[in-house]
């Protein structure tokens, strides 16, 4: 079966049918005019999420040939999205978002990272936004400096250590759900004095103090757990207050062997994270939120000999939130035939995941496109006519 490239926009973005008719036609400028209390969440799926398993091109008979053991049918629970693609059953709890136009998928995207297919270099490229190996700051950190409104520059990594995406010269924080700075006021003052002469410690102590107060209020008397839902709940709580940007990671996507159960578990985690964010933010804030879910690269189009898939190139991203062009499968679908695959093995990347990130930064925070293509994502091709900004 051929995939008709029917609804291609200027840059060839395939837009699936679900909500196109219902959504108002918005010009790029109207996105940029949103008042300044938007929220932005990045979720990094570490280990290379198999986009072809999450959003399966099930109407293409080649898919089942490439993946005799992994491809699902609607009889096996695959959830049809638009007649061509189907959603993995472990993501069923996301369907209300899809129907409400608060969820989209982007197929066949990647960073410019090619050939070596290493998780670590792939994640470095994803988080630094460049292929410069000596770059030690993350794109989300660099973006902070270019946000016109100072109040938007409040970012937190939900983690005990700082992930690369938010590491860098601009102030960002890290706080884990289980962390607690339970001490008397005078004891805290003494620690502040202890750290006064050490710039790094003084800074993180000040941040710890502030975040701890907010986190105490969010947790209330609930148990402080370490799970995915705890991370999402804390992120939502902080974003409901003064924070505008949050980031966390979900592991468990490196499915070389017996992919089926492992992938279903990871997708359940991801669905839980997104639903918990929505619930924690409440309808009003959720309406101003964009959740960007990205991974270092996709996996091989063919399943391997161990019931899994190996490192690939073109992958998938997710957008969720009230502030996105929702209910769509974005991206230009490259096809699955031998000559359409990259090196005869991977889904051909047809879009740059950094452009998607740039579009969301532009949309949420009015960062000037020329900043996005120089400092944030050096060398990226992006402007306010990007297909990712079209509703």
């Amino acid at each position: 079966m051929d995939f008709p490239n029917a609804s291609m926009s200027r840059r060839g973005f395939l837009v699936s049918a679900c909500c196109a008719a219902a959504s108002p036609i918005l010009t790029p400028a109207s996105f940029a005019a949103v008042p300044g209390d938007n929220r932005f969440v990045t979720i990094i799926l570490r280990g290379a999420m198999d986009g072809l398993d999450l959003v399966q091109p099930y109407a293409d008979p080649l898919f089942a040939k490439l993946r005799p053991r992994l491809a699902l049918t609607t009889d096996q629970g695959l959830i049809d999205l638009d007649g061509r693609f189907g959603l993995h059953p472990a993501a069923a709890s996301l369907m209300p978002l899809w129907s409400a136009g608060e969820l989209s998928f982007v197929h066949a995207v990647s960073t410019p990272y090619r050939d070596e297919r290493s998780h670590f270099s792939g994640q470095d490229a994803l988080e630094t936004g460049t292929l410069q190996r000596n770059e030690r700051s993350g794109w989300l950190n660099r973006a902070l400096a270019h946000m016109p409104r100072q109040s938007d520059r409040k970012a937190i990594d939900i983690n005990t250590s700082m992930d690369l995406i938010l590491a860098g010269p601009n102030r960002a924080e890290a706080w884990a759900p289980q962390s607690d700075l339970a001490m008397a006021e005078d004891e805290i003052r003494f620690l502040e004095r202890l750290y006064a002469g050490d710039e790094g410690f003084a800074r993180v102590m000040a941040e710890a103090r502030n975040t701890d107060l907010l986190a105490d209020a969010i947790h209330g008397d609930q148990k402080r757990g370490e799970g995915i839902a705890d991370m999402a709940r804390l992120a939502a709580g902080l974003l409901s207050q003064e924070y505008r940007i949050a980031s966390f990671s979900i592991n468990g996507w490196d499915t070389h062997v017996d992919q089926r159960p492992q992938f279903a578990r990871a997708v359940t985690d991801l669905s839980l994270a997104i639903n918990t964010l929505k619930e924690g933010l409440g309808p009003q804030v959720w309406g101003k939120t964009v959740v960007l879910v990205i991974t270092e690269f996709g996996r091989t189009a063919r399943e391997n000999g161990s019931g899994g898939t190996d490192h690939g190139t073109g992958g998938a991203a997710l957008l969720a939130g009230g502030g996105i062009p929702g209910g769509r499968i974005l991206g230009r679908w490259p096809g699955l035939s031998e000559d359409q695959l990259l090196d005869g093995r991977d889904l051909m990347p047809t879009g740059d995941v950094r452009e998607l990130a740039a579009a969301m930064l532009y949309r949420q925070f009015d960062i000037a496109p020329d900043r996005l293509t120089t400092d944030v994502f050096p060398g990226l091709s992006f402007d306010n006519g990007s297909g990712y900004l079209r509703g």
Partner: protein, 485 residues
Amino acid sequence: MSISVPTLAAIRYGFGLRPGEPPPQDAQALLAQLPPAARAELRFPREGITGRRETAEKIIALRRAEAKATQNGKPNARLRQTTQQQANRLYRGDAVARIAQAVTSPYGFHERLASFWADHFAVNADKNLQMFMLAALHEAEAIRPHLAGPFRDLLKAAVLHPAMFFYLDQNRSIGPGSVAGLRNGRGLNENLGRELIELHTLGTGSGYGQADVRAAALILTGVGIDAPRLDIGYRPQRAEPGAFTLLGRSYGGEGRGEADHRAMIDDLADHPATARHICAKLAGHFLADVPPPEVVAPMVAAWTASDGNLTEVYRAMLEHPRAWQVGGAKIKRPFDFVVSGLRALDMPEKQFEAMMAAAMPQPDDEDEAPRRPKKNAPRHRNPGFARAMTIWALQRMGQPVWRPTSPAGFADDAASWLTPSQLAERIAWARMAAQWLAADREPADLLADALGDAAREDTIRVLGQAPNRVHGLAMVLASPEFNRR
């Protein structure tokens, strides 16, 4: 500010000062630790190397029999559960022992190198049942005996080990054109080939490509675990036939066989990019997040001159003046923080060993829930407390023993570990330690024990005015200089 060489030697190149243990006097003394340390007794695996191989082989055999029974429609859920619990318990016991080993060993430099190399050749105990039993074995028999000799011996021992094979799916990798591959359609798994090049030897960005990764994986086909024994063996029927080119050299072809992968590993060990990669990583671990090129260059030269002898590489680093420059550029990782904290506390041996025993899995706890403590038992004998001070602390701080989230090991830079959340965890640990393990001590004495002449004037002054003794003690361990090296 100046800090004496012995203090720096203990803090920067060991797990910190420990009362009653004379610090190494100089570079020579650090290097002199290596031969006796390799012969010293090791606390893990707890049944010893031979004992662990026997236990693990037995449990794996039980599981294999159960898997067969399941195929015949007779699954044994109870057996699956008990073997999983046994494996789990072995892991948790080893993890506690790993911490105790680093605390009590007088060979701090050797212990730090063991941590470095176990991290370089990272395996993850979480991978499966086998790995819960083998992660400790990997460090004990593949890493520690080889960390002071030729790199290529260490490389072969660390890579050609059942733990690495389970972790990186080598057992699942079958030459697609081999007898076995053609028979059952199973295929190649590139994991081990990729990490061998990217992480263990050449390093990323050193000029190899996907074709090299694939060639390495193909050359490795045929090598696998010689079940039911936990040994590495070679099965020609799984080996991809033919000749393969890796970085311009050819392997296999006529006489394709067992020697091919060994020749490849030796060539990768000898490659100049490997020397550069490893020397920079060592300097990055011990000296500064961005490895000082003036130290890396003589390390690489020593590597070349000595044919990859690691003691000579360490010597080149330690004999460079930059190695003794004061600055505290490195933030201790969580494991180093906890171990150096336990060393500084100077618990009586009996009390320390009782706490380690309490942290071990208990006969009656089948899961993570700690046994209810006996009434009036001292705190250090309380399993929940003992674990909170050791394995659980590392879990919370993000560096659980032998469970890195990727084959690249744990992060090793200040940006990753100097964060508000990390600081909160360390303060909490310091407060627990101060309250329950050191409450009868004077903060100034603990400061002298923990930091010697590395204590800052600021810290001495603030401690002198602390609002209470416990907080004073906690501030020693929470101080910037105790968390830097």
